[in-house]
């Protein structure tokens, strides 16, 4: 048999180790981010007490507040450091799988979910660099990432193997890469919009509870918008290259196959988001809802369409 069928089992095994380790590290990072909340919550309760105390403004109370905050700070920083470490292993896991099967490592749902999550984490780290105030959102970004990776590594897991004939094309690299980049970025955007919705529900001057610790509305909104603005053209590109590929593989560039249809629906919803955000009256929540719905449609496309409906995109590799 030709060498397309070759699989390096050793590399594949290392890839799996790296994957599992990365998931565990993300999980720990998420817990630390949550710890940052618990700590912070204590300190934000402590501070009003200190302020309310009779003059002179108690030095000790201020100090403990600062001490606790700095512990929260330590939690947060460690969480970020772990996220970076996890991302490194995650990159390694995909690279090893690619090397094990000598093709682009996103040919089935396990690999594809892993790639989406990697982009989400990298996108998240990028956001964090530009907007440090977003750090508190870490737990909410890592939560869907950990859940998706867990599902990918269990239910969706597929042994390292070559792909079927229809997937033997350089369009696999182009189309699926674009789909995972946009999917990953839109995940972070969706989380940001969802938290924006939580935030607008609360009074603007809320000082208590976890809502008060979230970044400001404007920050959340801006992050969601910027990520969507980057991801939307990439998503458009992913759909178009999918169409070009479909013309070569399936005999027509567009045939309203379920995956195509739902990709189109998601595209329209995100287009709607960009319009809504530019329309007066939609900025205080309306647009954010649209963004959240958009991400729900993406998830639907990933899970329901791949696993439940039987379309041409059933390469999921899940049996």
């Amino acid at each position: 048999m030709p060498n397309v069928t070759f699989v390096n089992e050793t590399l594949a095994a290392y890839s799996d180790y790296a994957f599992r380790t990365a998931v565990v590290i993300y999980l720990v990072a998420m817990v630390l981010h949550l710890g940052e909340y618990a700590r912070d919550r204590v300190s934000s309760v402590a501070v009003p007490v200190a302020v309310g105390a009779p003059a002179p403004i108690s030095q000790p109370a201020g100090d403990t507040g600062r001490a606790k905050r700095s512990r929260a700070e330590r939690f947060g920083r460690t969480a970020v450091a772990l996220t970076i470490l996890g991302a490194g292993l995650h990159v390694g896991s995909l690279a090893l799988r690619g090397a094990a099967v000598l093709r682009w490592p996103w040919g089935n749902m396990y690999e594809f979910c892993s790639a989406i999550c990697l982009v989400a984490v990298l996108g998240w780290l990028f956001v964090l660099r530009r907007t440090p105030a977003m750090r508190r959102v870490g737990a909410f970004v890592l939560l869907p990432v950990v859940v998706l990776l867990f599902l990918a590594g269990t239910v969706l897991y597929a042994q390292a193997a070559p792909v079927m004939p229809a997937l033997r094309s350089y369009w696999l690299a182009i189309h699926v890469t674009a789909a995972s980049i946009s999917g990953g970025l839109l995940l972070v955007a969706g989380v940001s919009s969802a938290l924006f919705l939580v935030r607008v529900r609360a009074p603007r001057d809320a000082t208590d509870g976890f809502v008060a610790l979230l970044p400001t509305r404007d920050t959340l909104d801006r992050v969601a918008y910027r990520l969507t603005v980057i991801a939307f053209p990439i998503w458009t590109f992913a759909i178009m290259t999918g169409a070009i590929w479909a013309e070569a593989a399936w005999g027509r560039f567009w045939g309203w196959d379920p995956k195509e249809t739902v990709a189109f629906v998601a595209w329209v919803v995100y287009g709607g988001y960009l319009h809504a955000r530019a329309t007066a009256g939609w900025r205080n929540g309306g647009a954010a809802w649209v963004n959240v719905v958009g991400f729900a449609v993406m998830l639907f496309n990933l899970f329901f369409v791949n696993l439940v409906t039987a379309g041409l995109h059933s390469y999921a590799g899940v049996s």
């Binding site: 070559p162 918008y225 458009t236 399936w250 045939g255 196959d257 329309t279 007066a280």
Partner: protein, 542 residues
């Protein structure tokens, strides 16, 4: 509809409430309808309706994708299905309501784009807007005094605003106001995006009207298919404006088919070795030269505006029947895969008894060889297939003799015998046996049936879409327009200079406004502020 703030969308409320609420004349009614239709809000609603309307296309079985599934759905939901059927939910993308939504959306889009294109053309020629009297009201503002004469500062401002459209006007107090604007390409990109969407839709529709698609099964070992008419196809779907009389002429000859499989049986690669004739070649006929091509799954053959695809493949057993009178017939009929993973196939090879002049007698002596074909047989009496490649072929066949019912005018499947003929006793089983290649069996009347070998068939699809290059052109324009309109920001910048007390000093105010999205303008403004103010700043500040 636009990705930027629609200039006409925002002040809509006050003007509308100022108008009389009742439409007095039909013209006014028309005008109001038109305005409503082309407003951003309507476009937004239509956009969401479009998304919503497309969803059933993914959730319910669709006729164009898989008609068999509709039947299944009908059985499961006997009361709901007829209603859905009537409302067009099984053909969402051909339904009038889906068409109504996207047509309204595109009318709205065109109604919006026309005026916007004019506005844009005007704005491109106009000077930047005058400097507002009170710059400190702008979202970005800074002021200071610099150690340079107003003339020098003005020259500096000019230099820094390269790439901006700039207008300078003298002010009554001896100073100057500079007004600058850039990011005009954003609107151009935006208009391109939306216009290209309209173009895309039109090209798509043209392709649907004038395109066709047909499927045909061709045996390997040199069998041919010529694209001369609809009848040559096993199935054919055509646009409304295709009558099938002027298909592009070409012929295809299939020589070989090869597949590679992984040890698990998963296919790894398919290749069909074919030849084709087109144009002047066709005059040479089937024996003339054929141009060779290797047809693969991701590599269709593209000729004279048509594309030939390799869709699938299967096996065709070859049987030779020797009748008692010495007449010999060899038959090769495609059998269809019953199990896609192991390619266990089923079918019916039908043979007319030759040399019988009497019609009734001929009909009583037809033969059918039906059963299973395992490309890699499990062996044993009840065979099945354990691998999709042709490693150890074996057939398990029933031989039926009698009247196949081929002449009664009802079409019948090439993969099955007519069960009614068996039920009525017109067709009876006369033998059953498992055969390997070269083995044969003998019937009671002395006829022998030999299983010679297995050949293969491929199923080809021929597609024709005269507008698909245009779809691609418009898609590229959509993407380019989108990228431009999302990355470029339309923004304004103003400077007001006044001679300050003390010779050679200038008081300076700067203001900035991002016309589209505030995000990202801050940094640019701060850079300009630093360049213009801080370098030589001696007092004041932001």
């Amino acid at each position: 509809m636009s990705l930027s703030t629609h200039p006409r969308a925002e002040p809509a409320q006050p003007t509308e409430s100022a108008e009389p609420p009742r439409h007095r004349t039909p013209i006014a009614l028309l005008r109001n309808t038109w305005r409503g239709l082309t407003s951003m809000r309507t476009a937004l609603v239509l956009l969401f309706l479009l998304a919503l309307a497309a969803l059933p296309g993914a959730l319910l079985p669709q006729r164009s994708l898989n008609p068999a599934k509709i039947e299944q759905y009908r059985l499961q939901h006997p009361s709901l299905a007829p209603l859905l059927e009537r409302l067009g939910f099984f053909e969402v993308f051909a339904s009038p309501w889906f068409a109504a939504i996207y047509l309204l959306l595109f009318i709205s889009l065109i109604g919006c784009l026309g005026p916007r294109t004019l506005d844009y053309a005007r704005a491109c020629r106009a000077a930047p807007v005058v400097t507002p009297r009170n710059l400190s009201r702008m979202p970005h503002y800074a002021s200071g005094t610099v150690d340079a004469s107003p003339g020098e500062v003005l020259a500096d401002v000019w230099r820094r605003l390269r790439g901006w459209r700039v207008a300078v006007s003298p002010e009554p107090d001896g100073g100057h106001a500079v007004s600058a604007e850039r990011g005009y390409l954003r609107e151009a990109g935006n208009l391109t995006f939306h216009l290209a969407l309209v173009g895309l839709l039109i090209a798509f529709a043209v392709g649907k009207l004038f395109g066709y698609e047909g499927q045909v099964i061709v045996l390997t070992d040199g069998n041919q298919f010529c694209n001369t008419g609809i009848l040559g196809y096993d199935s054919f779907q055509a646009g409304t404006l295709v009558d099938g009389t002027s298909l592009s002429p070409f012929c295809v000859k299939v020589d070989t088919f090869d597949a590679d499989y992984l040890p698990s049986g998963q296919p790894a690669d398919y290749r069909a070795g074919i030849g084709y004739q087109v144009g002047a070649d066709l005059a040479n006929g089937p024996n003339g030269p054929w141009r060779p091509y290797q047809l693969k799954v991701n590599a269709p053959l593209r000729i004279v505006g048509d594309r030939v695809y390799l869709l699938g493949h299967g096996y065709a057993p070859v049987f030779t029947v020797t009748f008692p009178d010495g007449e010999v017939r060899t038959a090769t009929t495609q059998w269809r895969p019953a199990d896609p993973n192991t390619l266990l196939s089923e079918g019916a090879t039908k043979i007319d008894r030759p040399g019988l002049a009497d019609e009734a007698q001929r009909r009583r002596n037809q033969l059918a060889i039906t059963g299973l074909l395992a490309p890699t047989s499990s062996g044993g009496t009840l065979i099945t297939s354990v691998f999709p490649a042709l490693l150890r072929p074996e057939v398990a066949v029933d031989i039926l003799r009698g009247d196949l019912g081929l002449d009664d005018g009802r079409g019948q499947s090439i993969f099955e015998v007519d069960q009614r003929q068996i039920a009525s006793g017109a067709l009876t089983r006369v033998a059953r046996k498992n055969l390997r290649p070269g083995e044969q069996l003998r019937l009671d009347d002395g006829t022998t049936v030999r299983f010679d070998r297995v050949t293969q068939w491929v199923s080809l699809q021929i597609s024709h879409d005269p507008a698909q290059q245009w779809v691609l052109v418009f898609a590229v324009a959509v993407l380019a327009g989108l990228a431009t309109s999302l990355t470029i920001k339309r923004r304004r910048f103003w400077v007001r200079l006044r001679p300050a007390d003390g010779a050679g000093r200038t008081a300076m105010e700067i203001g900035g406004l991002a016309r589209t999205d505030q995000a990202g303008y801050g940094e640019e403004f701060f850079r300009l502020r630093a360049d213009l103010l801080r370098e030589r700043k001696t007092g004041g500040g932001a």
